[in-house]
Symmetry: D2
């Protein structure tokens, strides 16, 4: 059986990644891609890896009826357009932050409020390792944010495995690539200014902090740096457990959470060049790498987590969620394992 | 039907790329990977994208019997081991330069001679766009060199389309990524020294010049620069036709050669960011992009050609050749279309 | 004695580089920097390396009287403003292309015409290694273009040393960094799109071809690629002398031209990692490296030349020219020799 | 007055940087540079920016008598050679870790013990912003480590300004460039493997933790990542003060510590592209940038600090210390303010 799909906001980076995944997916057929700025241009004009597609961007006012609509639009668009999206499709997968939080007050605190708060409880947050059971049959799916996903995957086993109680001091220091800034980019995104930086772009108060705290029911101190890569988000979680923890405890916790997960791999202190999670090692894939190290002298535990922000952090996670929602094999269309060697993709 | 395959020299970059492709190939089953230095270690120890494989490197002395043996060994090894390779496999695909040239005298001129010259005529040079017909049933396949492949693909239509006669002045200025140096690397390959270079690493006399001249029966002036990327080889071919050429002539020639080729795309002066061939746009794929521009004021024609040196320039081309040799669908296992955006992969 | 100086267009990359050099120059005092978009902001707001300067941008309408005015404005501005510039300063050093060519017809062919053609003969083209004698006392100095400077420095000894007659086939393949695109930058300059490219950005017909042909009185086939670095322009000149040339001839020619030049170094085939000219090795400096290699089999000679496009290719060359014009020590303010190791600066 | 100087270990990255600084220093004359592996080769063979120096490496057994000897040798060499060094020079500036810690027990805990523990108390740790007063006349100067220097400079005002008492939870997350690995480099340092990484290279237990704890008399939880740049070390210090802190408190503390420091600049939340400390902005200079941000919701304070690990983190700091020790102007030879734009230097 094949499902029809459309991508709203198809000329941006995330929209292109969705189109790439849907094109290679055995169960989806792309019916439409929209772009306001690129209407009538070919998809390949925006995305050189999609020149083989015989598809031109439609105007976003002309939505085709499909089984699944993926919205890769800036924050604020989906909440305004949600009725049109739902009219067009039985399943709406939103990749923006518009339906990720549960309560209107959170949007007032972290964003600029919300115009459709009555839908927030209906929407299902998609981070399948945590919310898999809620996804089948969901009508509005809010695909988890990139930095939140990296962080949650790094910390989740510590709570599921009861290594932490939830009231511990947790510092999360995130490093991200330039694709998080999207296809537009201003002066700070220009190559001469952005190349080779370690730039504190969200020293405090990054909005994904709200997602993490909601999903894990904890407090985190969250800081995001832009570093010298294009794809990738990696979270270094500095955690101070109340009681001493052993390596065996950690292996038990991480294996307990992830042994059966198709997209999470534990990489923790083996040999060779790649001994801990690295965004390079997952670039282009829907995989997450997680790992950990103990610092007994400081009563600290460090958890590392690396994803491709364009994949497990957005388009890949959205397709993964749609697979589950529609009863498709979870890994369908998401099998690519990545390249070696690979530079700063 | 499934063919069994082995990779000799599996811990190097090219060996890893072969294993990645064979792992995802519907018609191949990996039976063995060898590595002298990594014997008994897992394949994932060398290649983080292959950690899911339940496979350890064998010692190269212990060759299993297979349908196809891929040799990803340094120059000189295959000519010494060819009898053992052929004993182990009915089809040997050699990725080194050992069987690419036709005559012993060429090896004396460009390399250090050849120990098995009687086999040179038997071996088939694999650059399917040019030598497809010779591949079915071949016993020794010499997969074309990366820089030679980029250059030949850029120039081929000019000869097939009779734009050039073969005696014109041809300058080929090639730019390559750091993966061409292989997994070892010396002082010049260390990140602080290699990062961001434009380095004339073969100002003149690069050995691939011999392949180009043999395959196209021409003379070329060939120069290779190392530039700031990991994967990629791009050839800029400056050509001076004897008579004026039109854009229509060129489109005719390139379409004539490549319209039906599954892995070659003509990219020549369209809109958007990616208007001519770029190695970024083909990174991780077996695709080649070719394009051209006229310079009437100088009586010049510039042809551009971009490939991923690890794929169309080595492992991808080898698998493509094996597909043809064994009667498998040509594109099997080579469908990946690449990522956008992507950095310096 | 100290000269007063101003920089028109001070918030761009080249303007910032001029301010940096003038700030560290023993004989210049910065009186004014103008910027239309950044008026009243500090210089350090645009240029983090200049935060120590107690200087705010003036509006470009309010020009102070100075000894030397450096114009770092886009093409077309200087020809419109030249009367105001000359009213403000006895010496105008223009870093745009507005006064580089000799004849109105050249501007009609390569640009969009010229509004003050009567001044073209008066302006002196500044590439001191070639035009040093014309600079003392000049009123309008047109600082040589970056890609033209790299190319001319690579080829000059071949003509001065009579290795070439001037009617030979010459192909120049240039590779440049992203700073050539300036501080604005559009979609193609955004980090995710620009990072790691080898992009034919001027396949044919780059405007600097006109400068080269004028200065050397030759024809060149000129192609420019954007590659993975920020600063740097390197020219690979493929030349076919009419008669055989020896290494000794070349050393003689290059030493003849450059032995006494303070900013040109011959780097040609020595040992170590840096054996030929490389833009990394001159980044941040006013130095040029030139070198060469013979390809007897093809009757070819390859000349390499590397500069920092922001320095020897623009701001450094402008200060060098001003030094000469005003009778200051040539190397004053330009002594920085560069860093090692250094990445892709 | 001019002081004579030598560099032991001159062919490595740090040795080259010392030679560059001493060459441009008005008060030092380079008498000797030693290198075991490059004996008799020119200094320019190792360092392309020093080709103008008429100097060949001596064998390290043949030490000339000088005023100051700079030792840029691997850990363990200086403690073995210290008597010879002191015989050769009245002032020994050691850039290794051999004399940085105060007590033998620290070397037993963090290193492999110490062969000359009786000298530890005599040696002066050089981080002039903290230990300036101890430097004049010192015989053994232990130049502070790169990651320790970045961290200490970020945290110091919090203690000097009594924002912190010393028993608070402090997490330091450091990001460093590839030059920290030195000129040798193994497989993990090869360009294809090292390019574009965010690699946890010292997840816990980095030796510089000992320096920080000794100098500031605190406990820190310390983690170091390798990221995509060549030069640079930046520390993100996550701190949890016991009582609420205001921005005014922080400005007061940082200004109190650094207002008169020639090499430290407070960069904290201004406009433009460069709003917080960034290693790019100090590359090639002896400057440190420090800044901070409050996170009231988490009771957290984040302090940022960025240096060039080759300069303020080693060679620049060593020269700065020597300037103070010998009564030279502090900033002599260290005036370079850096480039803009600049890539990943």
């Amino acid at each position: 059986m094949t499902f029809t799909a459309s991508v709203v906001g198809g000329s941006g980076f995330t929209g292109g990644e969705l189109l790439r995944l849907l094109d290679g997916h055995p169960e989806f057929e792309i019916v439409q891609a929209t772009s306001r700025s690129e209407t009538n241009r070919t998809v390949g004009h925006s995305h050189p890896n999609l020149r083989h597609l015989d598809l031109r961007f439609s105007h976003p006012e002309d939505l085709a009826g499909v089984d699944v609509l993926f919205a890769a639009t800036p924050h604020g668009v989906s909440m305004e357009q949600i009725d049109r999206f739902r009219e067009a499709a039985g399943t709406v997968v939103d990749l923006s932050a518009d339906f990720r939080l549960d309560r209107e007050t959170q949007y007032e605190e972290w964003y600029d409020g919300h115009s459709r708060p009555e839908l927030l409880q209906e929407a299902v947050y998609a981070l399948p390792e945590l919310t898999r059971d809620e996804l089948p049959g969901a009508g509005i799916i809010a695909s988890g944010g990139c930095n939140a996903t990296a962080t949650i995957l790094g910390l989740l086993p510590l709570f599921e495995g009861e290594v932490l109680a939830g009231d511990e001091q947790i510092v999360v220091d995130v490093k991200v690539g330039s694709s998080e800034g999207g296809a537009g980019g201003g002066e700070a995104s220009a190559h001469p200014e952005r190349s080779g930086v370690v730039r504190p772009y969200a020293p405090t108060g990054h909005r994904h902090e709200a997602e993490i705290e909601q999903l894990l029911d904890i407090e985190v101190s969250f800081t995001v740096h832009a570093v010298g890569m294009i794809r990738g988000a990696t979270a270094t979680c500095h955690v101070f457990p109340g009681e001493p923890v052993s390596k065996a405890d950690l292996w038990g916790a991480y294996r307990g959470s992830y042994a059966d997960e198709p997209f999470v791999e534990i990489v923790s202190g083996g040999g060779g060049v790649y001994r801990y999670p690295e965004p390079k090692a997952v670039a282009g894939t829907n995989r997450a790498e997680v790992g950990f190290e103990l610092d007994p002298g400081n009563g600290r535990l460090v958890a590392f987590s690396a994803i491709d922000n364009m994949m497990k952090g957005s388009a890949g996670q959205a397709v993964h969620a749609a697979n589950i929602a529609l009863g498709i094999e979870e890994t369908a269309g998401l099998e690519f394992r990545g390249l070696h060697p690979v530079g700063a993709p």
